[in-house]
Structures are given as structure tokens and as C-alpha cells.
Symmetry: D2
Subunit: 341 residues, 4 copies
């Protein structure tokens, strides 16, 4: 194997783990998944690994940590395990790609980031939307300065359909589970840190959310250090597809992006004009973004660059989610300084 | 003159007064402006009146109030005079179309509405956007029930350029001057009353706004009685034109409208694809809506219907503006029940 | 009456005559319709005239020709009378606005144009689409030279529904009745004269067209003196509205326009995304263009300018229609030089 | 190697050969390229083959023909060699995917198709646009019958930039080289055979085309057996990207598709509204279509289905191109029956 190829150990073969594994093998030059660790390993996982060209599959993530031929890990296991795997990988000197969120406990996150710092390994957090061609265009336009200073950031983020209700029970709530992506997007687009949050929520879709103390419809208003005001709206069930639009209004004008559609057709009849729906969900919408995200990580490691989404990004989005949760529950504005220690 | 033609007295010949006057003469069958009262009456006003077929022009609004041949008044004078003219017209038994807002003082509004009730005359408030073909389509779609219950109402409302700074001094602040239209639109689209407001504001465009204790960029989050969450964003200077978009996300999907454009052109070159800008400002965007609004008033009077925008609509939008102002200044959520007495 | 106001005699109070009459009275400053002549004059016409502020109504067009207070005529009578009225009006020194086509007989057109020349009066032909904000933007973009030399002109022109079949009998065929607008538009956009025509036609909508030797679906390819190639497609029944799109591809890129829509709404559900249809027919789509057209004529007369659509434009479009008809019937390419004498 | 995997020999490692080779290895389950034959084989080809997982590379296509472990060939060599390779592969019992056109000589095409018939192997021609999500949607909508009988087929097909001039010399002319895709698309969308062609052409971009008796701008009008009329417009240099739009007008309405864009951004400033350009050229626009095309071939062979684009499709498009060429050169309408023997 070419010495320039990054050897990756994949932890977790659920939906997102398989996605990353397949993408790397097929579409990310300069990297190769060489081993899978999946605690619930079964024949299905093994067949998938074989077909994807992953030569070894094991139950124990320690097998990856202890494999000296592995340069980097992709942590795609359940959220509560992320921080621990970061610590283990960092101690073994392995570079780390970790799905979001790092953890829902700030102390755990900080400990993990401290180990990363100490080990001097690269850490990238899986905020995949930054790699979407549309959102990236909004970011790049604002960051270029061509529109002057940003004033307002708007994010619409609605899932096509809610997850199973038992998922809701352990999701950490809408802000930690779903809006966390939008908090990261808002920081990315505003180019500044969130200082205050106001959150509204409602149970409009399914009364079962109430049982879990959660909401299915939410809106968040954000204040940023640089004077930008942010607005986010979320729904667990948009019905028509994955509605993911962003917009930044600036001193000289506005940049906004619409959804990607299944096709560009327009069918006109006496009954009306019918166009296509947005792509269905994140696997369809962010398909290329997942590849770009993995490629960016591989590039950062192989060429010793800073990863484009780092540990601080992972931490700050969790703070924002906690503040939104507090705002909703206490029905008041919440400053991030109340939480940041 | 045909007895079925509503005879209108126009109070005020500023920009909006002239607009209504010209529209009625040219495009509203069933009505005729027969007299103008403009305290600052000059030769320009008189020439405009003659050309528009308004046969009498006077300085004193009392001339209109005392004219027994006048059936209805259009109050297009400065805001602080609206309530008094409503009272005078009501006492004379004249139907009333009044530009928004009724007044910035709740007590004055209530007194005016009480006189209207007592006199049994029709009163319509000039929330013209309800008559725009786009926003009306959003409303009608939601109201039809075809999308189920509404969940989220979003309003983008940005002026192309700010008013003169001396206007700002007396405007009552961004929420009373500009967002008041959006509060009415939000109520119209949500089909419910606002119960709570969270407002953020920033001076991003011109530091001079600070001098007046005002902001030039604002965002408001709303709670409605029926569980709808509202989001409004405002800017005093969008630069590219009048940005007026609305969107309601409902149980079965979403209805949204984009801006009207100057034309539908698309010019594609190696340098990019250039499309047209939104129509410049309210005179261009709401041209047909102003006609429809006046026609609706004339229809309500001539055919004894309830006006589509009534005194309560005028009052509730002022409450919302006051609550937003309080929220911004005190940096907290404000319930409307704090203000409604 | 102000001496600067152009006094107009209106000949014909059918649909198009009423349209022009109402537009001039309501929306064209500097002109006034003072007399109507309608051979089939009835009470309905008289009521319309009174309501529109046209003080005199007569059966005999000669009353207009002989009225020395009339400066200009609008010829809105049936096609076969156009040329004769042009001759009569020219001989009386009156300026002329004439609906298209001038006539279907080249000799009659030439005689009429000769009289206009001799009299030195203004003549404008009613190719209203040149005044549509969309098509005009295409023309102006090409004419500005910003895209370089034009290469390809494309016109889609489809009516929402066919006319009554008895209209078809006397229409002169699809090319003289319907495509004639597109021939004028093609000349307008290409900025050059048509030299050759290839026409295809089919009866796809209603077999009754065959009875009249006519077609309901057509396509025409055009060669222009300046090397531009033109493509036109027509349908008598688009069903979804009036489909009027133009496009010019040039050396540096392409300019194209889409239809105006009833509103900008987009309704997204699980069943699909529904947008609005184009405006229904020419009265809706070209409403403002009719006003602009009349205003341009009044401006040309009042300020002694060349009318923007002149007699040659009227003549050349008839040549093109005749050539297309010949091409379809003889199933061959037809050069305009075969017809132009 | 799994017996269900189709073993493919790739003939030609130019741009299109490499594209198919990479696609099959990465994205077409059920197939594997096992050998490359490239007469001009060099180190670059060999490196590409190794990297792509093609284990053998040779200069002589006969090595592929004689390899009993090879089930199918992809013919991606220069046009003039296609027919001979088809014959050779058919005689060896190998299934065949062949890039378009089969040949520019009708006799050679017929001989090749006869051999395919005799051998009973599958033959698919590389009209990749049929597999584009947009054009396919137009086809499927028409074919579903939901819009009734088709009336008009319109195809805009413009390359972003012309090929090198020495390519023009051997291209066979614009109709055989470029429009041939549109003839196939027109047949695909109309669901019928072309009976007559009228072609116009012009040298508007580069005078050098004249030297080769070729044109750089063209338009073609088509008659179909089922009464459909077709219109095609072509340009060698659109400048703004690859302009590939199709539209079918039917009895009950119209289905049309726009281009895919680089992203959905809209940047609004006082200077105008800028949107993104179409994807640059066929590699970007038809990236997924190339994969779908190869997958369809593999599916046809592995599951014994008829290939979706067959030898007759390859033949008829060549007839149409020849007829267009004749029409342009002889400046007359040309019936396909003049050519079909």
C-alpha cells in the first residue's frame, strides 16, 4: 500500500458509519478504510465490509486503537461514546474524525479536547453541511467581503419526517439533536460567536413529543458578537422533503440558497404548474457534502493543515444547544456566558 | 352623479393621499373623490386635484366633515392626527378608511374605536399588504385548510433604503413604523392573536439610528394563541429593492411567496447569470394592492359588508409593536397581556 | 380642453377597441378619446362610452374623419377595413394608430402606406408585444450590444385556448392571424429582415381546423439577413395559460424571459410542489403593454417622433406570414424575395 | 470473482473510455472492467488502469476479443473503428456497449447490426442523455400519457465552447457530431420516427468553420410520423456553460426542464441579482447519467433484458444527421425516405 494513503479505522457500522466507509473507499483518493470495529458485529456488517474492500472487521474498537498501521479513526458510534473514543484515539496518536455532537456533557467535551491538544493530533467534527455546495457558496460569498458586513443570518432547517419516537427519548431534545447543525451553520455564516439565545418551541406535529419534554417545532433567535442577528426555524416533519435553506443579508445585499431538487422539471396544465420536490433527506441532499467532508479531513491530515471544522466548533454548538434548551424551558433570553465556564 | 357612487373626501395630499386619490378616480368603480382637504394646500395640490378630477380643494378638513354630500373619508394625514379625524368623521356619520397606524397611544385608539362603534360607521385600516396577490395567496392557502394547521409563519420585510434621518426622529421606532405591517401580516397569516414577543435589534446600517434610540436591523419572534411560532426579520436598507416575502409552514407542507420582479429576464454569460431585481419599493410592489384595498373599502360600504381590516386589527398591531419595543429595550420576552388592559 | 391633449377618434368598440379606449382615458396622459364610431352601435356601446368619458358616439366612421377637432384615429375595426380607414384618415391629415395586420393583401397595404407618406402623418401598427416589459428587456439587451452579435432567436407563442371555429374560417390562417405577432417579434429581436422561411404545421388539437385548410400547431424556421436563425413554435391551445417566451442567443451569451405568473407562490407538500400558472391570455399578460403602446403613439405624435412600430413593420410581417403559408402548403423553403415586389 | 459479475473489456482509454472505466469500477455493482486495450498505450494509461483496479492493459483489442473470460466490451475508440469492433465482438459472442455514432456510413452500420442480430448478443448505443434525470423526467411524463398526445418537441443544445479546429476537420459536421444526440433525444421524447428534416446553419462564431464546410450555429425542424413537430437549436459556443434544455408540449399541457446549476445561490445587490451558471459541460452535467447508462447496460446483460438504447436507435439518428446535412447543403426539405433504403 502506498505510504501516502491514510489508513483509517472505522468505529461503528450504522447508517452514518457505512456512509463514510463507502465514500472513502469509492471517492476519497489518498485514504483507505482498513479495519472496521462494530460492537454489534454481525454477518451483515461483515458482508458490507467485504464488499466495500475493508479487509478486517472486529467487535472491539480497541483493536483499532492498538493497530499501529492505522493512522486515523472515524468515530461513527452512538453519541455518548464519542468523547471516550476521542480520548483513546488521541492517546494512541491517531487523527480523529468524529460525528457530531462530541458529547452532551461539557466537561466530557473539554477533557476530550484537552487530550487532542496534548497529543497534537488532528480532530474534525462532522458538521457536514459546511461542505454542501449551496451553504458553502453562502459562506464564501459573505466571507469574501463582496457584500460588506453581515447583518442577518437566516436558516430554515426542516426534516421531512420525524424519527421513531424511541429515538426522541434519547435524542437530547430538538436543540441538541437537530438544531445543533444550525447553530454550527449560523456561526459559520455569521463568522462570529453566539452571545445570546431566545428559543420558542411548540408541539404541533405529534403530542407524543410532550411526553419526552421535547418539541417538534422550534424557532431560535441569536445574537452574535459582531452585531449579526440570527433566525432559525425547525420542524421535525416538513412532509415535502428536506428543507435546508440559508440566507445572509449584508450591508450591500443578500445571498441566499434554495434547496436542491430531484430534477428541474416544470409540468404545466390547466390544473396548475408542478415542479419537483427537494431531495428527500440528508443522504440525498448531502451526499456530495459527505464525500467533500471526508476528503477535507484526509487532506488536513495528509498535508498537515488545520481541519476546517475543529473541536471548538464542536464545543460552541453544544453550548448554543444548551442555551436554547434553557431558554425554552425557562421562557427567557439566555446568554451563553451563563453556561460558558 | 349616480346615487350608487360613494362620495369620498380625501384628507391629506401627501404621497399616500395622492396615491389613494388617483387610484379611486381611475380604477375604483363605484366611488369618486369629490373633495380634498390639505392643511398645507398649495398650487401643486390644486393642480393635482384638478387633473385627477377632484372638483373641490380646501385647507380645512372640517369642510369635508361638514359636507353632507360626502359619504366617506380617506384619512391620509400624519399619524398623530388619525384618531382625531376618525372621531370627527364617525360623529358626522361618515365611513372611514384610515392609514396605519391609528395612533401610537392606546388610549387614543380605544376612544376612536368607541366612537366608530357608537356611530355604526365602517372603519378600514390601511394594511395594504393583505391585498397583495402574493401574500393573499399565502393567506388563502392557509385559510382554506388544505395544508392543515399552521405551525410556523415567516416574514421577511426589508425596505430598499432608509427614510431621511429626520423622519426617523418622529417615526415611533422601527417596530411602530415598519414592523407594524409585519405584525398585521403575521396575525393575518397565522389566523390567531399574538401572545408574546421577543425582539432583537441592531444598528448595522447607519450609526445615526443610535442617536434616536432606534435600530435599523431587527428580528422578532412571536408566539400565537394557536401554537404558531412567528419569525420576522427587518432591514431599513436592503439595497436591491423591496424584499417582501412570506411563508407559512403547516401540518401538510409549506406555502411561500417570492418577490415580484421588474421582469422575468435571465441573462447568461461567462461572467454569470443575471436576473432582475425585486420591484423597487411599496409604490411599485403594492400598486395593485392599493387599488384592491380601496375597492374593498368601497365594496364594504356600498354593500354593507364588514371591512376586511378593521379597528381591532389596527389596535392589535400597535400592541405588538409596543411589546416588541419593550422587549428590545428591556432585553426580555414580553407578553402582550402585560400591555393589554 | 388643454391644447396639448391629443384628441382621438376611436373606430370600433369591440374587445380591442374598448381596451384602447379605456386605457387612454384612464392611463395615458396627453390624450383623450373624444368620439367613438362603431357601425354596429348599440346601447351597450353607448353606456360604455359614457362611463369611459367619451362624449360622442356615432355609427359612421366618416363622422370621425370629418371632425376637425380630432387629431388622430385608433383603427380597431375588422382587419379587412384597416387599409381603407388608413387611407381616409391620412387624407384628412389625421395621425393613425392601426391594429395589426394592416391588411392581408399586399397591394392594399402598399396603397395605404403610400397615402400615409404623402400626407406626412404618423402611423403606428399595434404590435403590442414590443411594449411588454419582458420582451422589451430581451430586445434592449440585444440592441445594447452587451452580448455581441445575435445568433439565434427563439419564440414560444401559444394561446391558452383556440378561438371559436367560425373565427378560424375568416382568420386568414394561423400564420396571418397568430404567428404574425411572432414574425414582428423576431424582426424586432434579431434587428434584421427575414429572407427565408420554412414552416411546418399539424392538426393536433381539433380536426375541424382541417376543414378550413388551417393548422392548430405550427413551427417556423427563419433566416435573417444578418445571419441570425429564428425558431418559432405555436399552439392554439396551451391549456395552462398564455405561453409567451422569447430568447436570443448571442456571441457572448443568452438573454431569455419567462412568462409572468399570476403570483409567485410555491406550495410544497408530499404530493409535489405547485407553482402558479402564467397569466391567462393577452388581456392579462399585455395589460401594461397596451397602455405603453398607446402612450408611445401619443408621445410620437405630440412630440413629433417616429412611431416605434411603423408601416414597414406592418408590411414585412405580412410578407413573412404569406411566405410561411406558402411554405406549409407547398412543403418547401420559401424566400421572401419570391413575394416582395 | 463472483460468477454474477459481468467481466468487461474496455477498448479505448481516451476521455470517454476512462470515464466509463472509472464509473464501472466505482459505481456499477455487478460489473468489473478486467482488461483495457488501447492501441496508443503508454505509461499514463497503465497508471490509470492500475489505480482504477483494471488488472491488465494491452495495445491490441484482439486480446480482449480473444479473452474467453470477458463477457462484454465497451467500445470507446474513435468513431471510424466502432463498426468493426462491433462485428468482432459479436462474432466472439460478447455483449457490446458502443459509443455513438456507430459509424457515419450506413452500409457499415447495417453490417454491424446484422452481425449483432446473428450472434444474439446485446448491443447498447451510448446516447447518455436518455439517462439524465431531467430529460428522463420529460420522457417519462410524456410516455405516461398524463399530458395526452405530444404536439411539439423542443430541444436546446449548446456546447459551452467549441472543440479544437482540427477536431472539426474530422467531426463529420455539426449534425453528425453534435446534433446526433438531439436527433436521438427528439425520437426518445416524441416516441415516434422522424420523417422529414429542414436544417438551417450559419457561421456566427468562428469563420474557420467555413473552411471545413461546416457551421457553428444550427437549427433543425423535424416532422414525425405521429404528427409531432420538432425544433432543435445548436451552438458550438454558449459561453455560459452547457445549455441542455428539453420541452414537450402536449394535448393537456407542457413539460419542460431547465439546466442543472452549479448551486442554487441568488446574490442580490443594487447592481442586480446574480444566479449560478449551468454546470460547465457534459462531464459535469451528465456525470450521473453516465453511471446510470453503464448500469442499465449491465442490468440488460445480467438479467437478459433489451438494452434501453439499441442498434436501431443508433442507425436512425445517423439517418437524421445525414438528412440534416443534405437539407443544409441543398437548401431544401429532405425526407428520410430519400435516404433509407
Amino acid at each position: 500500500m502506498d505510504s501516502k494513503v491514510l489508513r483509517i479505522g472505522l468505529i461503528g457500522a450504522g447508517r452514518i458509519g457505512k456512509l463514510h466507509g463507502s465514500n472513502i473507499q469509492a471517492s476519497v483518493p489518498g485514504a483507505r478504510v482498513v479495519r472496521l470495529a462494530e460492537p454489534l458485529l454481525n454477518g451483515g456488517h461483515e458482508a458490507w465490509a467485504a464488499q466495500t474492500g475493508i479487509s478486517k472487521a472486529t467487535k472491539d474498537p480497541a483493536d483499532i486503537m492498538n493497530d499501529k498501521d492505522i493512522d486515523a479513526v472515524f468515530i461513527c458510534s452512538p453519541t455518548y461514546t464519542h468523547a471516550d473514543f476521542i480520548v483513546q484515539a488521541a492517546r494512541k496518536g491517531k487523527h480523529i474524525f468524529c460525528e457530531k455532537p462530541i458529547h452532551t456533557d461539557i466537561q466530557k467535551i473539554k477533557e476530550a479536547l484537552a487530550e487532542v491538544d496534548k497529543a497534537g493530533v488532528k480532530l474534525q467534527i462532522g458538521f457536514v453541511r459546511r461542505f454542501d455546495h449551496n451553504h458553502k457558496k453562502v459562506h464564501d460569498t459573505v466571507a469574501s467581503g463582496m457584500l460588506g458586513k453581515p447583518h442577518i443570518v437566516k436558516i430554515t432547517s426542516r426534516d421531512p419526517e420525524g424519527p421513531p419516537l424511541d429515538y426522541i427519548a434519547g435524542s437530547g431534545g430538538i436543540f441538541m439533536d437537530m438544531t445543533i447543525h444550525d447553530f454550527d451553520m449560523a456561526r459559520y455564516l455569521a463568522g462570529s460567536e453566539i452571545t445570546e439565545v431566545a428559543a420558542y418551541g411548540a408541539v404541533n406535529i405529534d403530542p407524543a413529543y410532550k411526553k419526552y419534554g421535547d418539541v417538534d417545532t422550534a424557532a431560535v433567535m441569536l445574537k452574535f458578537e459582531n452585531g449579526v442577528i440570527g433566525l432559525i426555524d425547525n420542524s421535525r416533519a416538513a412532509r415535502y422533503g428536506y428543507d435546508q435553506r440559508t440566507e445572509v443579508h449584508c450591508d450591500k445585499g443578500c445571498v441566499q440558497v434554495a434547496n436542491d431538487l430531484n430534477d428541474t422539471s416544470m409540468i404545466s396544465t390547466a390544473g396548475g404548474v408542478v415542479c419537483e420536490k427537494p431531495t428527500w433527506f440528508f443522504l440525498e441532499r448531502y451526499n456530495n457534502a459527505f464525500i467533500a467532508e471526508a476528503a477535507a479531513f484526509v487532506d488536513a491530515v495528509n498535508n498537515n493543515k488545520n481541519p476546517p471544522v475543529d473541536g471548538k466548533d464542536g464545543l460552541m454548538s453544544v453550548y448554543a444547544a444548551m442555551a436554547a434548551d434553557k431558554s425554552l424551558k425557562e421562557n427567557r433570553l439566555v446568554k451563553l456566558s451563563e453556561l460558558v465556564s
